[in-house]
Symmetry: D2
Subunit: 372 residues, 4 copies
């Protein structure tokens, strides 16, 4: 069940990069959610990075066929399944697999795990192509969250030495983030985005690749969602984020920097503002002990560089137990962090949906707010 | 079910800091595991940090009462439950709760979540005290892993400006790590540990607290454990690590630093050594696409500083909707990262057990390694 | 994880018959449920069948020690754990195990399953003693259901040729069922109960045992709980009922008899009564296609006779691979169906709680009853 | 997640009767299972009951499109998804829904549950059409079980007063059951099958319907699979069986009849035969305390009659809160028990796969059979 997640909202993805199709089933969606199909398809298309010189040359329409769970564009409460056809596959590029695994890819451990039975063409089920149905699910989750006033948006914080303006943790400028989606690389500082673009192009020309950091924010998520320990908000969100291929680090709020702080510096003081409890800063990134505080949720996600590069690399022949050299062809993004932006947003959207649905189920029997 | 985790090996923790006891049930352990009770208790005691000037003044014996699942110290395959009594509680220290939530703690969101019904004395179920039964479970998992040749150890990498020697990702010195457990603060460089100790003591004297980073390694974990996506090794391990109270960041292998690398720099080349497939370096931290490579697994975990500090802080009265000042008494570690060391090891041990047990269940039907 | 159940409300039982204690953790209970401890203990005691000539001679106080999850008798929303000590154990009665398995018991398959490591003294974790913590959990669930107007009660329908008046499926007499709990054997027709009692006593005197059927009803459970297929009400309830040791058959509503009916006879016509939709009869037992209709839920549960009998039986020596004769000593109920009555009620209560909590979580976003 | 089941092998079904397609994802299949596609399609076609006068007039090709998880007809270990197109739908037959619910169907509770958003055309996701992808999954499970020597087959035991020869619980004649699949109604006694056929035809001519009982056997399932309590074999199998629409009763081995037996009559004595431990009879139906004994597994499943009948029935208008009369058109089987035969086999196959995969995962660490 590697490809299923969720206790309240179950997400099951399926498909291989060079199989006939990929898809997803969402089970646990409440009935009565009106889906804006055009907005959903537009969200899915953000992942495609069409026509960009820094994206893979593979061309797929990425139009979902929604098979079930919708009646007149409203959720029925039954499983919602969408399928995306694969059409533009070049399996001949992968003739060296599974014998000569690509460094940095799952080829070698997946071959051992499956005793050689796994389909590794185009990375098979391990491919970034599987983020397509995942983003579809994320887009549905985002529309569900919008009904309770939650917004999610992100930007590229760092690529190849270029750095964008970090988000204001207390009040991230969601409108600016939405506007930045029109750029080739979504950044708050357009110049930073252009420098990132140039750096990627440069790496690509050198048959190399780059890593990057994506920063994401959710605003409007209610206070009191989540739990201590294993269904804590950080635990649930991190499981989603680390499921994205290429992610090697995740932090919330001040994150790793908080480890160098003192408590008096880190703690977010409370205050009453407009009759509401708020914090005066947001080192916690909106999450205390696994539970949402009502302040913006802030996370940063580190992506390693794309392993498939044109440079010659050292590998082995699993069949002959000999050292070998390998030059990977195939068509790859030179920096996955760019197209990962809506994937990161989807991970956060699906996590927050899960937390919200769980909270609906185990809400207190009779609120006694007056006694607090 | 905030306090349960695991699909193959279920871990259920229970109890409150100032309730009568805390405990844990492990369900899914194979029968036939001979438990070394003395070693298990010694592992649990590592979390206690007895007699240290930098640990909480609370004194508990922390001796497990094993209720079930063992016969003559061998697992029966049935649920294994252990209970630890609470005896040294000062609930009167927490009279300000739930009305005046402590900044940086879960008090406020937990109060809203539970409509005020949660038991927040000593942080209740949210307390670090719950890491006691968790470490017990981790110790059992570690003994299971030892039967297949896996070792897990960790050290404090950074506290208060002092930095220990990082682990050698290709060949972490497990013996040195085990030896370092005798120190007040386990570090490879004993001087670094002393500087950390001094920094914590200094912060404590100023009624303040510190964060820190723990680095953990597992050696000997077999290749091919894990999956792409949601049960990927990183996703499973991260869910455990982010379940530890105070964790705000997690990274594997090169982690956040990998985001600044090029592919040619990041990728770990394969080679045949002694007839085995190995990598010549280990930026991936032993994990590629969610699956173990057979190389050491390396992770780093960022802890925020302890929120409970003696300095006066700004909070609110939830009942009166007014701003308030708060000075937290209670007994707290000035730096949770120190006592978190065996907790981090437990998180890794429980995750790897889960991955290993899942792999046993869905192993290929008829290996055909000869055909690779 | 044989001993855990539930997606919304997790129930984890633990312990062995001749271990130090047995217990249970409920995780997922909403906060704010006021537990009537006296009523809960009284419910648990109904399982004990104290002083009865037809019950086991084992004497245990069966008083729960509630370790966690309650503050001033109100649920906190955190895991609720209760432990029951074992004190009156005669392990010497089981010296023939695991070598000579008792016919009708799990001894033989459990020995093979566990490679001999399972603790089989007094049946170990397989024992009916584990229904004690289960009934505790069921009693908590029943108090939760009472807050929404649900009542659950049952009677013994058949034992040893004696048969009680079946429940009126449309309007089971809950008060009569509650009143019948005072009898040695709860029946609507007190005479039938006495005949059952005599039959059991007679079988016991002949060193033999009897089976029986328990019929259970739930009234007041709201319409619309449950789902088609795998979380259908019948599927969820049946998983609980078949988890009770000794159960070999389960049916809902007309059950097996419905298989001999015509549709025109089986179908329950709808009518409006007092502005409400009702059925004019209740062959469906309150459940249509996995979803509750709002009518009473009716189930019948078949218990096989107690396998441990005083008569000599034919078994084998697993160690010597020879045929053997066995006379079981130990202390056993000659008819488990009698003490199973509150266990059956607990199974139904826990199932309905699960269904209700799931329904809270995935309730429609914006009801449009006016449009129906 | 009403439509997902399984801890080791996850089965997710999706689709509506009058939507564009139905399908299923199996996640958790071991890699290396060679699928006989022709045999799988033939198994699926057994559910179709083509050209029979006693089956629905709806004509669908029921050919699976396998999207993922297979490479050269061998499982890869990744999710296996199959989709079946819907083509022959007459949604206009269902214009009375959701306002006037059909007695005996889920229409009314599903409408309340979903606040009217559910798609009820042709019963929507509640339809028997969803057993098509379920049977596909069952067919895959059966091929997996065949690799370990398990066979599963079933027959119709009772319909409309006609009764087939019951299975020999100790040695069910699997070959005879396989041969009987060629009949219109699979029975051991061909005459009984013809009487059943005549009874169904007669009921259909009277615009009515019939119920029935299916009996199923599995041979060759190894001893020691399953657990006490919630993952007991009976509990796991029953959850599957009660997920089949129209099932109202399930029993194992002697089942309800065992409730009228004495222990001395019910218990199955052990003996050594050919060096193996066996029982001399099989009242337990191959299952003791939730664990398989190695003897044949026997279950019986009661189906209520088809609710959709041509006779006029009494219902209500949910919109107007008035009593109404209803004559159901649509195309329906007059006795679902007939086409349910491979569905019942699928339920048993999927359950036994689940139990077997779980047992692989939690097998004892070092068997010590010599010490038994």
């Amino acid at each position: 069940m590697s490809s299923r997640i969720g206790r309240a909202l179950s997400i099951q993805i399926f498909g291989e990069s060079h199989g006939s199709a990929v898809g997803v089933t969402l089970d646990g969606l409440p009935a009565g959610l009106c889906i804006d199909i055009a907005a959903l398809e537009a969200f899915v298309q953000r992942r495609a990075a069409r026509g960009s010189a820094i994206a893979t040359g593979r061309r797929e329409s990425d139009i979902p066929r929604i098979i079930s769970g919708l009646l007149d564009n409203v959720t029925t409460g039954q499983p919602l399944t969408a399928v995306f056809e694969n059409s533009d596959t070049h399996s001949s590029d992968y003739g060296f697999l599974p014998d000569r695994p690509r460094p940095g890819h799952a080829d070698y451990p997946a071959t051992i795990k499956s005793a050689g039975y796994d389909d590794l063409r185009g990375s098979g089920h391990h491919s970034g192509r599987l983020t397509l149905p995942y983003v579809f699910a994320g887009g549905v989750a985002m529309q569900l969250l919008q009904t309770i006033g939650v917004q999610i948006a992100s930007h590229v914080l760092r690529i190849g030495g270029a750095e964008d303006t970090p988000l204001d943790a207390l009040a991230p400028d969601m409108d600016a983030l939405f506007a930045a989606q029109a750029q080739q690389i979504p950044t708050l500082d357009a110049d930073a985005g252009e420098r990132m673009y140039a750096a990627i192009l440069h790496a690509k020309q050198e048959a190399d690749s780059l890593g990057g950091v994506v920063e994401v924010a959710a605003s409007g998520f209610p206070v009191g969602m989540g739990s201590p320990f294993f269904e804590g908000a950080e635990a649930v969100i991190a499981q989603h984020l680390f499921s994205i291929p290429a992610v090697k680090g995740v932090e919330f709020g001040a994150g790793f920097a908080s480890s160098a702080m003192r408590g008096s510096e880190y703690n977010d003081p409370y205050q009453i503002r407009g009759g509401q409890v708020q914090t005066t800063k947001n080192s916690a990134g909106g999450l205390l002990g696994g539970i949402s505080t009502g302040m913006p949720i802030i996370a940063r996600v580190a992506f390693r560089p794309t392993p498939s590069i044109g440079k010659e690399q050292q590998t082995v022949s699993l069949g002959y137990t000999t050292n070998q050299l390998l030059t990977v062809k195939g068509r790859h993004d030179p920096c996955v962090a760019v197209r990962a932006v809506p994937v990161v947003e989807s991970a956060l959207a699906l996590s927050l949906c899960e937390l919200w649905l769980i909270s609906r189920g185990d809400a207190p029997l009779s609120p006694q707010a007056e006694e607090l």
